[in-house]
C-alpha cells in the first residue's frame, strides 16, 4: 500500500510527471470516484472522518472548516476556493517541493475541495518568486483542461470548475488567510477582522475556503485509498503523513515526507544526518520562524501537533531551523525580528510600531550597544505583542522566537551587554 502519498511521484532530478503518467499512478482516481456517485456531503464526511488537519500552520481540522460554508439554494451562488501557495514563513520550503514535484496532485486536491463546497472558481495565490512552480502549474492546468478534469461539467458530474493562477506581488502578510483575500482583490493586503469568517464573507464578499497546498495534496489519497489507509499512515494521534524539513548546519538538510508522530531525534539525526562535524545542537525552531525554540532535551518528543504544544511550541509548518553552538542566538532572533518588522502590514499599532523598536534594539545588541533597559523593553514587548493584542497573528508569531529566545539564551543576551560585543563574530 502507498505510504508516501504526497511525494510518490516526486523525483526532482527529472521534470514532474505529465498527466498521463500521473493518471497511471492512481492519478485523478478521486475525481472518477466522485463522478461515479460521491455527493459533496459524502466527500465532506470522508474528509471529516479522516481527521485531516490544516498543514498551513494553524492546524485547524479541514473538514470542520469546510462545514461552515453555507450550502443549499439560499446560500450565495458564487463560492470560491483559494489555494494559499504564498509560502514565505522563514525556514519553510515544503510547498515548493509539492508544486514543482507533482502539480497534478494539488490540482486533484483542488477539484475535491471545490466540489465539496460547490465553488465554481478557484484562485491559486502563488508566491511571485516561485517562477518555476508557476510554469509547471500553468502547464498542468492546461493538461487538466484538455483531459476534461477542469472546465464545464467535469466528467459528466454537472460540476463546473475553473482554476485561475495569481502570482503575489510579494508580502509575507499575504500568507494570512484574509490578507491574502484582500491582495487577490487588488487591495492593500491588510488582514480582515474575524468574525465574519471567509466561509461567510470571503473573496469579494462571497463564501470562500482558503486551504494550504499541502492540505489539498492530502485529499486525493483519502478519497482513493480510504480513511483506514489514511489513519494507518501515522504513529501518533494525528493522522496522515506530512512534509518535514530541516535547514541549518546539519549534514544533509532537506525535506522528506514522514508519518506524523515520528520522534524529532529520528528526523534530525536520521534523515538530516545530525549536526555538521564540530558543531553541537544548541536549539531549534520546530515549525519555521513563528514557533518557540525547543532544546536538545526535547529531541525525544514526537512530531505531533499536541505533543509539541505541550512544551510550549508549535508544529506549525513542520520545517525545522537548527541553531548550532557556533552561531549567535541573539543574532538569529534579531534576524527574525528584522523580518517581522519589515513584513508588518502597518495596520495595527503594537505590530507596526512595536516590532521596529525591537528590531533596532537587536541591532544595538549586535553592535555592542545593548543595555539592561533595552533588555527589559524586549521582555515587555513579548507580552505587549501577544495573542489578542494585535489585529492578526503576525506579531504574536514574532513573540514566539523572541520570548523563548530571551528565556533559553538569557546568558547570551547578558554577555552582549557586559562584553559590549557579539562574542560569536569571528
Amino acid at each position: 500500500m502507498v505510504t508516501n502519498p504526497l511525494t510518490k511521484n516526486i523525483d526532482m532530478s527529472r521534470p514532474p510527471l505529465d498527466i498521463t503518467a500521473y493518471e497511471a499512478n492512481d492519478g485523478y482516481q478521486s475525481v472518477h470516484a466522485i463522478a461515479k456517485g460521491l455527493s459533496p456531503e459524502d466527500v465532506l464526511e470522508l474528509v471529516k472522518g479522516s481527521g485531516l488537519k490544516g498543514r498551513g500552520g494553524a492546524g485547524f481540522p479541514t473538514g470542520l472548516k469546510w462545514s461552515f460554508v453555507p450550502r443549499g439554494d439560499n446560500s450565495p451562488k458564487q463560492k470560491y476556493l483559494v489555494v494559499n501557495a504564498d509560502e514565505m514563513e522563514p525556514g519553510t520550503f515544503k510547498d515548493r517541493l509539492l508544486m514543482e514535484g507533482d502539480p497534478h496532485l494539488m490540482l486533484e486536491g483542488m477539484i475535491i475541495a471545490a466540489y465539496t463546497i460547490q465553488a465554481s472558481k478557484a484562485y491559486i495565490f502563488l508566491r511571485g518568486e516561485y517562477t518555476v512552480s508557476e510554469v509547471v502549474l500553468r502547464n498542468a492546468i492546461k493538461e487538466a483542461y484538455e483531459k476534461g478534469y477542469l472546465g464545464k461539467d467535469i466528467l459528466g458530474t454537472g460540476f463546473d470548475f475553473d482554476i485561475i493562477m495569481h502570482t503575489s506581488a510579494g508580502r509575507y502578510i499575504c500568507g494570512e488567510e484574509t490578507a491574502l483575500l484582500n491582495a487577490l482583490e487588488g487591495k492593500r493586503a491588510n488582514p480582515r477582522a474575524k468574525p465574519p469568517f471567509p466561509q461567510v464573507s470571503g473573496l469579494w464578499g462571497k463564501p470562500t475556503i482558503v486551504n494550504n497546498v499541502e492540505t489539498l495534496c492530502n485529499l486525493p489519497g483519502i478519497l482513493t485509498y480510504g480513511i483506514d489507509w489514511y489513519q494507518g499512515l501515522a504513529k501518533g494521534n494525528d493522522h496522515g503523513t506530512k512534509l518535514f524539513g530541516v535547514s541549518g548546519k546539519v549534514k544533509t538538510p532537506g525535506c522528506w515526507e514522514l508519518p506524523l508522530g515520528l520522534p524529532i531525534r529520528e528526523l534530525l539525526e536520521g534523515y538530516a544526518g545530525g549536526m555538521q562535524d564540530g558543531l553541537e545542537l544548541r536549539g531549534f525552531l520546530p515549525g519555521g520562524g513563528s514557533t518557540d525554540f525547543m532544546l536538545p532535551e526535547h529531541l525525544d518528543i514526537t512530531l505531533d501537533y499536541d505533543e509539541i504544544a505541550k512544551v510550549g511550541s508549535r508544529l506549525a509548518t513542520g520545517t525545522m531551523i537548527v541553531l548550532d553552538d557556533k552561531t549567535c542566538p541573539v543574532g538569529m532572533v534579531g534576524n527574525l525580528m528584522k523580518f517581522f518588522a519589515h513584513e508588518s502590514c502597518g495596520f495595527c499599532t503594537p505590530c507596526r510600531d512595536g516590532l521596529p523598536w525591537v528590531d533596532q534594539i537587536f541591532r544595538d545588541f549586535e553592535n555592542g550597544e545593548g543595555s539592561e533597559k533595552d533588555l527589559q523593553i524586549l521582555h515587555d514587548h513579548v507580552t505587549y505583542l501577544g495573542p489578542g493584542r494585535t489585529f492578526c497573528a503576525l506579531a504574536p508569531g514574532a513573540t514566539a522566537p523572541l520570548g523563548s529566545g530571551l528565556k533559553y539564551f538569557k546568558e547570551d543576551f547578558e554577555k552582549h551587554i557586559t562584553e559590549k560585543r557579539c562574542s560569536y563574530k569571528h
Binding site: R171, R188, R192, A193, P195, P196, V200, S201, W204, G205, A341, H342, E343, S344, C345, G346, F347, C348, T349, P350, R352, D353, G354, L355, P356, W357, Q360, I361, D364, K373, I377, D380, Y384, G388, R389, T390, F391
Partner: protein, 849 residues
C-alpha cells in the same frame, strides 16, 4: 436592552452597539483613536482595549478591543484592570515612538485627541531612544496643511475621505511603520468635504491652512453656537473669533442636520466677515463720492422712508428678524421678494407642497435612511453639499441589510463594506449634466430640462395612473421602468428636486411623490426640495405671493413708488441689469443695507453697514422649514449694526421675534428656538470665552494701558466674558465642545444623551411649517418647451459650491478654489462654433430678457 457589568457595576446597554460606543454613551472615559461615531469600528489602533471575563469566577480574563466586541447581554468587562491599563499605556508609547513631540508648534495643541488619550492612558515617560521615521509633506491645496510626521496611522483620514465621502485622491501608501497618507502626487484635494480631515484627524497631520495664517489656540477663541449661511441646509457651526477677526469655523453637532461634518464652503466661507472691503460706516453717496453720515443724519434720512411711497425689498440671505423689521417698516403690501421672479414663482409651489400632508420634508439624518433615491434636475453636491454627503450614506443601506442577513454587526465597518462590495441601494439621477454623485448612481440619464420634467411625469404616471401622463420619447422607457420598480419596492423612497432651474422639475418631482403616496396607502413620502440660500424659506413665508421683485422694479420705474430700501441684497444677481438700472435711477431715494459693497450699493443714495451672521443674533429657516437660532459670536467694529436695528426701534431681538410670531402666520412658532424664559443657571450667563481664555486684560494695551470694562451684552443669554455657567454644567447653550480630559472635538459624546443621540442642551431647531392641507392634487405636465433652432442652445444654470454663493465667494480660501464664469458645452456644440477648451465666448440671450 442588555445588561453588562463594567468594573463591577451593572449597566443597561444597547446590544446592537459595540462596547466602546456603549461605554462612551454611559459617560465612561475609555480611550480610542480609529473608531468614529459616524464611521464605526475597524480595530486598527488597539487603544480601546478592555479586559473581558468569561464568567464571574474568571479572574484572569482576556484582552479584547471594546470597539470590535458586541455589548452582548451578560458581558463582564473591566476598563480599570491593571493589565488593560498597562496595555493601553504601551499602545500610546508605541504610537509616540515615531511622533515628533512638537506640541508647542503644532496647531492641534489644546484640541488634540492624541494629547487627551495620552493623558487618559497614563503614559508619561518616554523610553524610546532610537531613530524616528520621518516623512516629506505634500501641498494639498488652500484648505488643509499636511504634516505627516505627526501621523499615528489610525486610518481615520482615508476612511472618512474615501469610504465615507467618496473622495478618490487620498490613500494609504507604503507599509510597516512607513505607512503614508497622501495624494498620488501633490495637488489640490478634490473632495468638497476635504476640510473635515482637520476634525477627523486625531493629531496635527491635517490642520486648517486658512486658520494657520492667523492662528490662535482653541481656548483663546471666543465662540458661540452659530448656523452656516452658505446654503439652505442650515449646518450648525462654532465660529471662533480672536482680536476682532473670525479665525476659523468648526462643526457643531446637530443630530438632525449636519451630525459631525461640514462641507468646505461652510468651513472656509466665513472669511468674508474679515474682508477688508467690509462696510463699517453709514455713507451717503453724493455724485459718486462717499461721505460719512453722523447718527442724526442717518435717523433723519431713515425717517423720510417712513412716509408713503416707500417699498422694501427683502433678502433670502438675511435673517428673519431683518426681513421682518423691513416689512414692519414699509408694511406687508410694500414688502417685495428678494429673489428672482423665477425663484419667486417656484417658491410658491414649494410653500404649497410644504404644507401638503402627502409629503414629508426629510432632515439630513432622515435622508440617510432612504433606501431608494431619485434626483431630478439638481446638482446636489453644489447646491446643498452636506445633503450629497448624506446621500453617499443612504446608498449604503443595501449593504446594511446584507450585513443584517449575514449577522454582521453594522458597526463593523470594513466587514459590511467587504460583504456588499459595489452592491448599493438604488440612486437615480436625471439631470442635464454629469454630477459629483454619478459614481454612486445606479442609473444616470442626461437630458435637457424639459425632457427631465417629462420623464418625471412619466415615472409618476407609471407608479399611479391618476398622475397625468407626459409625452416623452420611448428611448428612456426602460430606465423609467427600472426606476419605478425601485421606488415602489423601497421602504423609504426619497425624491429630490430644487428650484435652481425653475419649477417645472419640482412639479414633476411632486407628482412622483404623490403617486408614491397613493401607491403606498397614504404614508407621507420624503420629498426634499432644495433652495439655494440660507433663508429663502424664511423670507418666502413673510412675502406676499403678489409681490415678486419684478413688480417692485416696475413700480419704481413707473414712479408709483418713490423710495426703496434694499435689505442685504445685490439686485443685479436677481433681475436683468436693464430693469435694475431703470428702477434704481428712477427712484428718488435708495437706501441699501449690506455687509459688503455690491453693484447695488454703488447705485444707492445711502448705504448703511449691516453686521454679518457672526456679529448678531438671528434666526434662519432651512430647506425643510427648520428654524434655527444663531448666536452672536463677537462685537462688530465701528458702526455696523444688525439691519433690523437700523430699521426699527425694537429694544431686543426677542421682542422682534415675538411681533414676527404674531404677525406672520408661517412663523408662529419661531419663538420656540429662543433660549426660553429662564435660560440662566443660578442667574449667570453662558460665557463665550473658555475658562482658559488668556490675555483679556492686555488685549487693547496698544490702545490704552488701562483694562477696559468688560463688554456688556444686554441682549443675549451669552456674555462676552469668561465668567458664567459654562456649557458642561447643563447651561441651555452649547457652543464649543470641551470637557474635562476631553479637549478635542471628541468631547461631544459628553454632551449627547448617548453617542449619536440628541444634545442634552441646545436645540436641534424647530420645524415651523404645519402639514395640514390634504387637498393637494397632481400638477399638469408642462407643455414641451420651445425647440432651439440650429445655433441656439437651451440654457441651464450650473450652481458651483465654490463661487455661486454670493458671500462665501468673498472669502479668501474659497476664492483660491473658485473658477471663472464659464459656459459648459458638449463637444459637438463646441465644435460647431469652432470653440476650444478655455476659449473666451460671448453669450447673448434670445427673446425679451
Amino acid at each position: 436592552m442588555a445588561k453588562i457589568v463594567i468594573d463591577g457595576v451593572e449597566h443597561e446597554v444597547n446590544p446592537d452597539n459595540n462596547l466602546l460606543q456603549e461605554c462612551l454613551s454611559l459617560g465612561l472615559d475609555l480611550p480610542y483613536f480609529c473608531w468614529h461615531p459616524s464611521m464605526g469600528s475597524v480595530g486598527a489602533c488597539r487603544q480601546c482595549a478592555v479586559m473581558q471575563y468569561r464568567d464571574a469566577d474568571d479572574k484572569e480574563g482576556m484582552l479584547v478591543m471594546a470597539c470590535m466586541t458586541p455589548a452582548a447581554d451578560g458581558a463582564i468587562i473591566s476598563i480599570e484592570d491593571e493589565g488593560a491599563k498597562s496595555f493601553r499605556s504601551e499602545v500610546i508609547e508605541s504610537l509616540m515612538t515615531s511622533h515628533p513631540h512638537d506640541c508647542p508648534v503644532c496647531e492641534e495643541g489644546g484640541e488634540c485627541h492624541l494629547q487627551d488619550m495620552t493623558l487618559m492612558s497614563g503614559h508619561n515617560y518616554r523610553r524610546y531612544d532610537k531613530k524616528k521615521r520621518t516623512h516629506r509633506n505634500q501641498y494639498l491645496g488652500p484648505f488643509v496643511n499636511h504634516e505627516m510626521n505627526r501621523c499615528i496611522t489610525c486610518y481615520r483620514c482615508v476612511r472618512f475621505y474615501g469610504d465615507y465621502a467618496g473622495g478618490t485622491d487620498l490613500s494609504a501608501q507604503a507599509s510597516h511603520h512607513h505607512v503614508y497618507f497622501g495624494r498620488h502626487e501633490e495637488g489640490v484635494l478634490e473632495s468638497e468635504f476635504s476640510g473635515n480631515l482637520v476634525e477627523v484627524c486625531p493629531t496635527g497631520v491635517f490642520t486648517d491652512k486658512a486658520f494657520s495664517e492667523n492662528y490662535s489656540r482653541k481656548w483663546d477663541l471666543q465662540t458661540a453656537p452659530s448656523v452656516c449661511v452658505g446654503c439652505s441646509v442650515g449646518c450648525n457651526t462654532s465660529p471662533g473669533e480672536r482680536y476682532g477677526s473670525l479665525r476659523r469655523t468648526v462643526n457643531r453637532y446637530n443630530s438632525e442636520v449636519n451630525g459631525y461634518f461640514l462641507c468646505d464652503r461652510g468651513r472656509f466661507g466665513f472669511d468674508f466677515v474679515n474682508n477688508s472691503d467690509r462696510l463699517l460706516e453709514p455713507v451717503q453717496r453724493v455724485d459718486n463720492t462717499g461721505e460719512l453720515l453722523a447718527d442724526d443724519q442717518v435717523k433723519a434720512f431713515i425717517k423720510e422712508f417712513k412716509a408713503d411711497g416707500t417699498i422694501g425689498i427683502g433678502s433670502p440671505r438675511a435673517s428673519n428678524e431683518s426681513n421682518f423689521a423691513l416689512r414692519a417698516m414699509v408694511g406687508e403690501e410694500n414688502f417685495y421678494a428678494g429673489y428672482s421672479d423665477v425663484e419667486h414663482e417656484s417658491m410658491q409651489v414649494l410653500l404649497d407642497l410644504a404644507s401638503d400632508t402627502a409629503f414629508h420634508s426629510p432632515s439630513v439624518r432622515e435622508i440617510e435612511m432612504a433606501d431608494a433615491v431619485l434626483i431630478l434636475g439638481e446638482d446636489v453636491t453644489n447646491v446643498a453639499p452636506r445633503i450629497a454627503l448624506a446621500l453617499r450614506q443612504s446608498v449604503r443601506n443595501k449593504a446594511k441589510d446584507l450585513a443584517d442577513e449575514s449577522r454582521i454587526p453594522q458597526w463593523q465597518d470594513s466587514a459590511v463594506r467587504e460583504l456588499a462590495q459595489h452592491d448599493l441601494s438604488p440612486l437615480s439621477i436625471i439631470s442635464s449634466a454629469v454630477s459629483r454623485l454619478d459614481d454612486v448612481a445606479s442609473d444616470r440619464v442626461i437630458e435637457s430640462l424639459s425632457v427631465v420634467a417629462a420623464m418625471g411625469h412619466q415615472i409618476a404616471n407609471k407608479i399611479s395612473a391618476s398622475a397625468p401622463k407626459a409625452d416623452c420619447s420611448a428611448a428612456h422607457d426602460q430606465v423609467i421602468e427600472k426606476i419605478v420598480e425601485q421606488l415602489k419596492a423601497a421602504k423609504r423612497p426619497l425624491i429630490i428636486a430644487g428650484n435652481s432651474n425653475g419649477s417645472e422639475v419640482i412639479r414633476a418631482a411632486a407628482n412622483i411623490a404623490r403617486a408614491l403616496y397613493d401607491f403606498k396607502d397614504n404614508s407621507a413620502i420624503d420629498l426634499c426640495l432644495l433652495v439655494p440660500e440660507v433663508n429663502s424659506v424664511g423670507m418666502s413665508l413673510m412675502t406676499n405671493a403678489k409681490n415678486p421683485l419684478g413688480a417692485a422694479l416696475k413700480k419704481l420705474h413707473d414712479g408709483t413708488a418713490k423710495r426703496v430700501i434694499v435689505l442685504e441684497n445685490d439686485l443685479y444677481r436677481r433681475a436683468s441689469r436693464a430693469k435694475v438700472d431703470a428702477a434704481l435711477t428712477a427712484a428718488t431715494k435708495v437706501l441699501v443695507l449690506d455687509q459688503l459693497p455690491t453693484s447695488t450699493t454703488a447705485n444707492a443714495d445711502v448705504v448703511l453697514p449691516a453686521t454679518a451672521f457672526s456679529e448678531h443674533e438671528a434666526t434662519y429657516i432651512n430647506y425643510e422649514g427648520r428654524a434655527q437660532l444663531s448666536f452672536q459670536v463677537h462685537q462688530c467694529k465701528k458702526q455696523a449694526q444688525p439691519s433690523w436695528r437700523w430699521l426699527c426701534d425694537a429694544e431686543h431681538v426677542d421682542d422682534l421675534v415675538e411681533r414676527c410670531c404674531n404677525e406672520v402666520p408661517g412663523l408662529a412658532r419661531l419663538r420656540e428656538v429662543l433660549p426660553g424664559e429662564n435660560p440662566f443657571i443660578a442667574g449667570m450667563k453662558v460665557p463665550r470665552q473658555s475658562h482658559r481664555y488668556s490675555g483679556r486684560t492686555a488685549m487693547t494695551a496698544n490702545v490704552n494701558v488701562h483694562e477696559p470694562k468688560q463688554r456688556e451684552d444686554k441682549e443675549s443669554v451669552m456674555s462676552f466674558s469668561m465668567e458664567g455657567m459654562p456649557a458642561q454644567k447643563d447651561a441651555s447653550v452649547h457652543a464649543a465642545s470641551w470637557a474635562p480630559k476631553w479637549n478635542s472635538n471628541q468631547s461631544i459624546s459628553k454632551f449627547q444623551d448617548e453617542v449619536n443621540g440628541e444634545l442634552k442642551q441646545g436645540h436641534p431647531g424647530c420645524l415651523l411649517i404645519e402639514r395640514k392641507d390634504s387637498s393637494g392634487s397632481y400638477f399638469k405636465a408642462g407643455s414641451d418647451s420651445i425647440e432651439p433652432s440650429a445655433n441656439q442652445l437651451r440654457l441651464v444654470f450650473s450652481y458651483q459650491i465654490f463661487g455661486s454663493d454670493e458671500l462665501s465667494a468673498r472669502s479668501k480660501p474659497i476664492q483660491a478654489r473658485m473658477t471663472d464664469a464659464y459656459i459648459g458645452l458638449s463637444p459637438q456644440d463646441a465644435q460647431k462654433r469652432d470653440l476650444r477648451q478655455g476659449d473666451v465666448a460671448t453669450i447673448s440671450p434670445l427673446g425679451s430678457p
